[in-house]
Subunit: 259 residues, 2 copies
């Protein structure tokens, strides 16, 4: 099966620490020159698409809003599609992403949760619980347990999702990688089927195995959060469509060979 | 097997709305006159033993601190027995119960959680998570999903317990009914074995089936939170040692017949 579209993870694949990785800009140019479709997929839940694109532009990348799929934007699209009015538990930096959907005096019929950090309060969570037991769906930007901060590990969104699931005896709908629906939304926008699309990422589980489970092809790069041996998880179960290469340049070499 | 000791639930069995139930004071007097041991067991997690006893005294009950087993007091005893220094996530009204165990400048090696309501904050929960991944046990005063407030249902302790369990990939130790360890602590203090002890309660699951599962006998009363048909859960599975009677007076009649 030939490759028609490529999904790129951002941090750890195209850049680290606000600097483009060696060969990343050229790699994207080569994909463009080959006439392949490009999409960018990231789980960042504390930034709007506008601020992500602004950051990437400073590094020399040129990305259109429609090419960028984030967990918040996937929830935003879902809310529009299902005509739902959200109750938001999100980081203030993300509020602008949902500004068009928060109508004054409208009773919310969906609960949207991002990684809100210290903005996870009882006063915020309790109304969410009440909407959930009324039947509102719980739409979440991930279920990560914790993340690394300078002074240690800290609670991520997952524990708060699991708490509300337990209280209301419901299951959240997870947006963002590795949810198949998330990969499929990005794939669908290219006009090609999943099997003609390849995902390039540095997180073996969330990016690569997630993509493979969703019917895409997948390439793991040895940059970013990659740790020696990660490819073993891939090779053992997904030898046919899963590959591991040094960096995004090598990934693009493979793709051009298989287009 | 003859009955030597009696465990009473408080609210719904001996009183409702700050008033003793009809026959409750006489029932306790009769148990006393028969020379049977009495203990009181409650899951209240927002009151110290001192304030519970003060409230009961106003209604005409005379109870000693050593006779009263609460989920907080069970955790307090556990901390002493295991020589643990607690990190507390509890309601301020309960802080006095643990005042003797919170040493300044001591690194906590146990996390204690009660129903803290609006005092469940990220700033409180995140250090707890860090102690848990260091290996501190999570000692909790229940895993209830929600409770009823004047304006609707509200999040109880359970969702916050489940969230921390998920984040740290551990299991909490639950104190309070229906945990067998909780019944056993009260039973042990009487000097008699579980099978010579009977629990009287209005909550078929938490009080009565919990007690039966812990090897005690159990009597369900049709007062308090009892709802018509609750005894079916009892009779189906526990016909030998489970009984259902109208109120605490009738329960004491049965006990005196079986002492």
């Amino acid at each position: 099966m030939s490759i028609k579209a490529v999904l790129f993870d951002l941090s750890g694949v195209l850049y680290t620490d606000d600097t483009a990785l060696p060969g990343a800009l050229e790699a994207l140019q080569r994909i463009n020159n080959e006439g392949l479709h490009i999409r960018y997929v990231t789980n960042t839940t504390r930034s709007t698409r506008t601020s992500i694109i602004s950051k990437l532009t400073k590094m020399g990348f040129h990305i259109d809003t429609e090419e960028l799929f984030t967990a918040p934007s996937a929830i935003h699209d879902y809310l529009i599609q299902k005509k739902l009015s959200p109750y938001l538990i999100i980081h203030p930096d993300l509020e602008e992403e949902f500004a068009d959907l928060v109508a004054a005096n409208q009773h919310p019929d969906a609960v949207v949760m991002g990684d809100a950090g210290k903005y996870f309060t009882y006063e915020k969570l309790n109304p969410a619980f009440r909407y959930l037991i009324e039947g509102a769906p719980l739409l979440v930007m991930g279920i990560n347990r914790y993340f690394k901060e300078a002074d240690g590990l800290s609670l991520d969104i997952g524990p708060f999702v699991k708490g509300l699931e337990y209280a209301a005896e419901i299951k959240a709908i997870v947006f963002g990688k590795p949810a198949a629906t998330f990969f499929h939304a990005a794939v669908k926008s290219t006009g090609y089927p999943p099997e003609e699309t390849v995902m390039i990422g540095d997180d073996v589980q969330s990016d690569v195995i997630g993509a493979l489970d969703a019917g895409l092809q997948g390439i793991l790069v040895r940059t970013g959060k990659y740790r020696a041996g990660d490819e073993k998880q891939l090779i053992n179960q997904y030898a046919i469509n899963g590959h591991c290469v040094d960096d995004v340049s090598a990934a693009v070499d493979w793709i051009i060979d298989h287009k």
